[in-house]
Each structure stands twice: as C-alpha cells, then as structure tokens.
C-alpha cells in the first residue's frame, strides 16, 4: 500500500535498530539502568505493540506508556454523565465507536443502548450534525472527546450549527489538551523520564511550540513523531542522540505532516468556540489545571452540559476508582500493566475494570492483545 508500506520496511527498521543500539551502548543504557522514554500518545502505544518494537529495540530503551488515549483518561463519572444524557427522553446520543464500551459506575454506553437509549456510533461530529438536521424533533448530542486532534472538527460542527440556527444540536464537551498533563507528570517527584515521543496528529493542529517548555524548563528532549514503526524508531534515535549530545530540544520527526506552527484554520476554530476550564478531571491523574476545554458563552446554546444541567455546569461529585484498579499508576508510568493486581484477573478486555483495558490504544489492552506479557516469553 502506497504511503504506508514504505514506513514499515524491515530493512530500514533493522538499520535504525542498529543505530539505536549503538547510541544506547554509547550512553551506557542497559536493561538494569534503562533510558525511560514516554510515548505520550495512545496511537503510538498501539503501534509499538502491533509491530513488537518493545521486543526488537535495545534492552536499554524502555517505553513508558503515557496518558494520551482520550478514552483511557476519561473519568468514570463523565461516562455516567453521558449515560444520564443518553437516557433522557427524545435524545439521540452520538459517539465515536471506542467510547461505547468504557465502563461507568452503573453501565457503559453499550449497556445503556441495550436498555433502550438511542445511542448511535458516528465517525465524525459532522455525522451527528446531519442527524440533527434530519431529526428536528429530537435533541442530538455529540460526545466530544479527544485531544487537539479531534477538537477542531467539533468546533466546526458547532460553528455550522450556529450558522444554520439549529436548536436541537449540542456537544457534551470532554476535549482535553496534551501539554498540561505532561507538565503535571514532569512536576511529579516520583517521575523518572528521560525523554518524550510527542503525538504527531496533535502537532498537526498545534504545531511544536507548545512543547518548548519541556526542553527549556525541564531539560528533557521531545521528538514529535509519526505513527508508522520506522517513524517511531527514528524518533527514539533522535531522543537518544540528544541525550548523547547533552542537548534538550523540541524536534520534529513528522515534518511530512506537522508544520512548526500548526494549522491556523483549526486553531482559529478552536479559539472561536472553546475556552479553557479552570481545571478538568483526568482518570488516574486527578484534576489538572487548565487541561480541559469548555464551550464559550456565545455558543452556550450548543453546550450539552448547560442544556441538561449536568457535569461541571452544576458542580460534580468526584468518584473513587474501582477497588484494586491501578490505571492511575500505569498511566503515570509508575508501574507496568502486568504489575497491576487486577491485570488478567479481575480486569480483561471481556470484563474491563479500568479504561486502559477498554480502548485498543490503552496500554493494558495493548499488552493483553499483542501478548506483551502473556505467553510470548514462555513460547
């Protein structure tokens, strides 16, 4: 397949792996004293396991799986609020597919659908907008979820709804931003990260400058990366080279897609529709200052939180995570998925306890699905 297979070339990968091994040896990285590199994005986590990069790479390089899977960092209470909205009479609740199975305290959206809620899987908020146009007597709500990658499309759908004067369309906004949780992680005294792989699709929108503080204030290298296996390997090499040369900079491996200053049209749409919340709750990380977006007052008519009097609009309760669930510790890189007492016992993809086991981009699901821990060593 054109434009993908080139980036999966085993010969190129071998050469990159050899160069990584050379630099890793040069800086004295070993299995016992590894270099810790956090891939922030769940898409990267998925690629690492899909291609077995964690097993092919020099043992002195250890991947720490970051908080960049929007489904995984969504607190259970937000799922509860989705279910509450979806269960209201007259509502058509629309969502991306992989949010369907995330457990809430009482049920997931999939279970709510089985109980009669009208919940529909869409591929874009523009599909939800079309549903609103076609069903003027129903209230159509889109579950706005994701980082800066998906935020522009929800912003555009709200702008379009305002232009058309639709009164039956709303967004339940859970959009979050990448730089703030990274800052929170870097401020955590228990954190031992040596460098970062930055999410390429986020930077396609925001550019690379929002990460400058990582290099300038914290002295850590970050390389914005693409999603194919050789993209990831090249980015690891670039991080290691910075460490070897005693530098810390923001570098762009994904220049074929990521412009340094991002996408001005998307940024303008985001700025027009959204403003920062004072804080937003992240699963496993707690409330993080200025890490979430809400809909500006001028678009209040499209804000489902306001419309339904739910969530941050009315003051929310913080809930405990389910007992024994270590999603928080996994997400902050303090433990590997397999070190969670519930992994593979009380928590499997069939019966997920925590969100990291639900989405295919979650670290636990990736470990499970691609045998990061099970059986591969024994076989």
């Amino acid at each position: 397949m054109k434009f993908a297979s080139e980036f999966r070339d085993p010969t190129l990968a071998k050469a990159l792996l050899a160069r990584i091994a050379g630099v890793a040896d040069q800086i004295g990285a070993t299995r016992e004293k590894p270099i810790h590199i956090m891939e922030i994005c769940g898409g990267h986590t998925h690629s690492i396991f899909r291609y077995g990069l964690d097993k092919l790479i020099h043992p002195g390089v250890e991947f720490i799986h970051g908080p960049g899977c929007p489904v995984c960092v969504l607190p259970m209470s937000r799922v509860d609020e989705c279910v509450e909205i979806a269960m209201r009479p007259g509502v058509i609740f629309t969502t991306f597919g992989d949010a369907m199975r995330v457990p809430g305290h009482k049920m997931s959206l999939m279970q709510a659908k089985a109980q009669g809620a009208d919940i529909r899987m869409v591929y874009s908020p523009l599909d939800a907008l079309e549903l609103a146009r076609r069903n003027p007597d129903r209230e159509v709500v889109f579950f706005g979820l994701g980082f800066e990658t998906t935020t522009p499309s929800t912003a555009l759908s709200i702008q379009a709804a305002a232009r058309e004067g639709l009164t039956n369309f709303g967004v339940f906004c859970n959009h979050i931003t990448v730089p703030e949780p990274i800052k929170a992680l870097l401020d955590d005294p228990h954190m031992v990260l040596d460098g970062f792989i930055g999410p390429g699709h986020v930077s396609m929108v925001i550019g690379t400058h929002p990460y400058d503080f990582i290099a300038q204030n914290y002295g850590k290298p970050i390389v914005v990366a693409g999603f194919e296996p050789t993209d990831l390997l090249q980015s690891v090499l670039m991080v290691l080279m910075q460490i070897a040369e005693g530098r810390a900079a923001v570098e762009n491996q994904y220049a074929r897609v990521v412009p340094e200053n991002g996408n001005p049209v998307s940024l303008a749409a985001i700025a027009d529709v959204y403003e920062r919340r004072p804080s937003f709750e992240w699963r496993g990380l707690g409330e993080i200052d200025a890490s979430g977006l809400r809909i500006r007052p001028k678009y209040r008519a499209f804000d489902a939180e306001e419309k339904f009097g739910i969530g941050y609009a009315v003051g929310r309760k913080a809930y405990e995570e389910p007992e024994g669930c270590a999603c928080g510790a996994v997400m902050t890189g303090r433990i590997k998925p397999t070190a969670c007492p519930q992994f593979g016992k009380g928590c499997t993809p069939d019966m997920p306890l925590g969100a990291l086991m639900v989405s295919s981009e979650g670290a636990c699901a990736a470990y499970w699905q691609y045998g990061g821990s099970r059986g591969m060593a024994a076989g």
Binding site: R8, G52, F96, A99, M110, Y123, T150, E361, Q369
Partner: protein
C-alpha cells in the same frame, strides 16, 4: 416472477401472516413457485443413495442471518443464508443436499425485495447443488424485526471414511485460505453508507461445497477446515488451535488482502484478520499434500486467490501468533465483542 401469480400488494402487512388467504397468496406467489418443485410436498420426505452407503454419516446444521443492508455489492441476505449453511456442512466434510428456509418478515417489507432474495437463494442453491425443500414464513409488527431475517438449516451426507475435525490438526500441518480476507466485512461497512468511503469492493459471498470436494479429492489427509465468517480468520484459527492443542503461526506477508481492504482498515483502525467473510475457509492440510490442495483450490473461481498463510506448530499450544512483515512476532487473540473503529 415469470409465470407466477402477481401479488396485488406491494408491501407485506400483518394480514400476510394471519394464516388466511393473504398468507397463502404471499407464499404461493413469492416462495413456492421458486423453491418447491411440483413433486414435493411441504413436509419434505427425502431419500438419497449416499445415505445408504455403509459408514455414511448425516450432517445437520442451522444458522440465522441478519444483515444491514439486506442487499450489498456481491450479494444479499438470501445468498449468504444459502452459502453460510452450505459452507457449514462443507467444511465438516459433508456433501450438502437439502436446505430449509424460514423467513421472519417485518410488516412494510417490500414484496419486490422478497422476490429478489428468493431468486438469489435459488440461484445459489442451484450452483451449490442443494435443494431448498421446506420453509416457513412469519410476519411480525413494525419494529419487531429489521425488515427481513432468514434462517436456514441444512442436511448433508459425510461419505464413509471421511473424518474432519479440528482435534486432528498436527504440528507441521499447513494452513491454506481460498482467497482474499475481509472483503465481506469491508463491503458491509462501506455499504452502510455512513463512512463516506466509496469503494469497488464486493462481498466474497460464495458456496464452498465444490471447492471442499476438490481439495479432499487430492488431499485426503486434510485434518479440518473452518469457514472464517464472524470474527474472521483470527477467530477460526484460535478455535482450531484451542481444539487441537497446537500453536498456529501465520505469516503477515502471505495473507491475501486487497489494497482497498487494507486501506480501509488503516483509516478506521480495524484489523482485517477479524473482518467477516462469507466465502472464505481455512483448511489444515499435511505438508506433503499442501501443494496439491492449493492447486485444487486455485483451479476453481472461488479459490483463485488461495494462499498458504501459516502452519500448526508444537510451541505455544492454543495460541495463534503472527510473524509480522516488520520482523516482529505478535499474538493474534480472539476478538472481544465487536471491532470498534478507533477515535483517532
């Protein structure tokens, strides 16, 4: 229907399920003129020479079919209802002989649609060499079904001495598939029309009885075969690995995949190994007979793109792994629930 009575109603109503004249009209205009040869009564009484051979065994299976949309590029619900049941029999080593067909019709279903479905069922049955010998119709109220559900049951005969079973797969046996993977699943996804993807894809829907006979004729040591329907090739291989207590290794590079399917999976974050097929089977054949089996498949239109995709191994019993084209090795697990497109 040529020569058939014309039903005056264009849509089915609850009256057509009431047991009276309207129901008789529906059955006699839509179903019996196509399915029921004049020599057969409703309660089929069957005899076949093959049943009387000493050591011959009866094979019996049933399956229900629900699909949205009912008609899609490469097939319709009737076609998969015939092929699915024929294939269930065929992969068990049976020669399919007779089918039943039961229709649950939602009021409001168009009669023309029923005509088309029934015609394609008979066409497929003729091609597969089976007869649809008995059937039933029920009409249910709006919302109690999604336009049309079809259930077929099938009877076939397993010739003496033939014994296909997943438990017979041994390390070293070679896994062969008869064609491209995931065409049906990808076609249905695209045909639902909510993806804004336009493709030239067609369902692989096909009856595989003749193909299985061709394989068994040249590769009598064939251990087992499975049709890779829901859950795709990954699920079929996992079932076989578990039943046989062997490991299975598939080679990513060897998997026959169309570029369109590959591309769609990339866009949506789906894995083609889990996409449904309606005319694809995987057979485990002893290595010495693998070339002959492959050639036999390729000699038939429904096996033109057959390929050896992997083999059974003694390591990691019960587990399927894939040697990736990238040089790594990963586990291919059973699918949990249904595949859901990723957010980004």
């Amino acid at each position: 229907m040529e020569g058939a009575l014309a039903l005056k109603d264009r849509i089915v109503t609850l009256a057509h399920g009431g047991g009276g004249r309207a129901m008789r009209d529906l059955i006699e205009t839509v179903f019996t003129p196509v399915f029921e040869p004049p020599d057969m009564e409703d309660q089929a009484r069957l005899m076949d020479g093959a049943l009387q051979e000493p050591g011959a065994r009866l094979a019996f299976t049933t399956d229900s079919f629900v699909v949205t949309p009912l008609e899609f590029p490469g097939g319709d619900i009737g076609m998969i209802a015939v092929c699915g049941t024929v294939n269930d029999l065929a992969v068990g080593g049976a020669r399919p002989l007779w089918l039943s067909a039961a229709f649950i019709i939602e009021e409001g279903c168009e009669v023309d649609l029923l005509h088309r479905v029934v015609a394609s069922m008979q066409r497929e049955a003729d091609a597969a060499g089976v007869r649809i010998v008995t059937g039933d119709t029920k009409v249910v109220g709006r919302g109690a079904a999604d336009r049309l559900f079809v259930t077929t049951a099938g009877v076939g005969v397993i010739p003496p001495g033939r014994d296909l079973s997943a438990a017979r797969v041994r390390p070293g046996d070679v896994a062969i598939v008869n064609g491209f993977l995931g065409d049906h699943g990808a076609t249905i996804l695209a045909a639902r029309g909510d993806l804004a993807l336009s493709t030239d894809l067609k369902s692989d829907c096909a009856a595989l009885g003749h193909l299985m006979e061709a394989v068994l004729a040249v590769a009598p040591g064939t251990a087992c075969a499975r049709d890779a329907t829901r859950g795709g090739l990954a699920s079929a291989l996992n079932e076989i690995a578990a039943a046989a207590g062997v490991g299975v290794v598939v080679t990513e590079e060897a998997l026959p995949l169309r570029d369109e399917v590959r591309g769609m999976c990339e866009i949506l974050g789906l894995d083609p190994l889990y996409l449904a097929n309606e005319g694809t089977l995987v057979a485990f054949v002893p290595e010495a007979q693998a070339d002959a089996a492959l050639a036999a498949m390729r000699s038939r239109p429904e096996g033109r793109n057959a390929a050896i995709v992997g083999r059974a191994v003694s390591a990691h019993p019960g587990q399927v792994r894939m040697a990736t084209s990238f040089g790594g090795m990963r586990v291919v697990d059973m699918l949990v629930g249904e595949q859901l497109p990723r957010i980004c």
